[in-house]
Amino acid sequence: GAGVSQSPRYKVAKRGQDVALRCDPISGHVSLFWYQQALGQGPEFLTYFQNEAQLDKSGLPSDRFFAERPEGSVSTLKIQRTQQEDSAVYLCASSLAGGAETQYFGPGTRLLVL
């Protein structure tokens, strides 16, 4: 079956521009995570959804970052007034339920802010 998909795969934004990154999780997966991966680093947690409920947003670096999952499937990560330090790969992962089971990752969106 299809895995986690993300779009766009690459995004170049001018500083100050708003961007929206989309994640399509594996069908039926309850849990959805967003991670940020800086160059040469491991992914870092941003936020977590269980169905449509955003249960943990402790990793969002500022109030310019906003995520939603209104129908409990597709999720969008929005970054307002992008800054150069926002340049990174944004990874989405989903898992079947809410337990400590395997998270499956999408290919990521590489964001470059000029």
Binding site: S31, Y35, G42, A93, Q103, F105, G106
Partner: protein
């Protein structure tokens, strides 16, 4: 704070040799660990996992060892192949919502 880190940032091996990638963690509360492989331009791919009530788990050509006493995790890859070249991350589950805490990664380079 809690962290999951790695001893070696790069590892070069000859094709056919066995590879061992190490990882240390600091959060004693982590009860589930995963090794991921990440190739260039792709998301992390699940390799193998282990729960804290185990000390060893084997998969196809891979073995994960967990030493809770010294908070150490290792990934062993048997008969390393060029296709194994990638960055390998260990990650531990943390918190009530099971977010992953990743280490910085080890790059494995396999030479023919």
């Amino acid at each position: 704070g809690e962290s999951v880190g790695l001893h070696l940032p790069t590892l070069s091996v000859q094709e056919g040799d066995n590879s061992i990638i190490n990882c240390a963690y600091s959060n004693s509360a982590s009860d589930y660990f995963i090794w991921y492989k990440q190739e260039s331009g792709k998301g992390p791919q699940f390799i193998i996992d282990i729960r804290s009530n185990m000390d060893k788990r084997q998969g196809q050509r891979v073995t994960v060892l967990l030493n809770k006493t010294v908070k150490h995790l290792s990934l062993q890859i048997a008969a390393t192949q060029p296709g194994d070249s990638a960055v390998y991350f260990c990650a531990g589950i943390s918190g009530g919502y099971n977010k992953l805490i990743f280490g910085a990664g080890t790059r494995l380079a396999v030479h023919p």
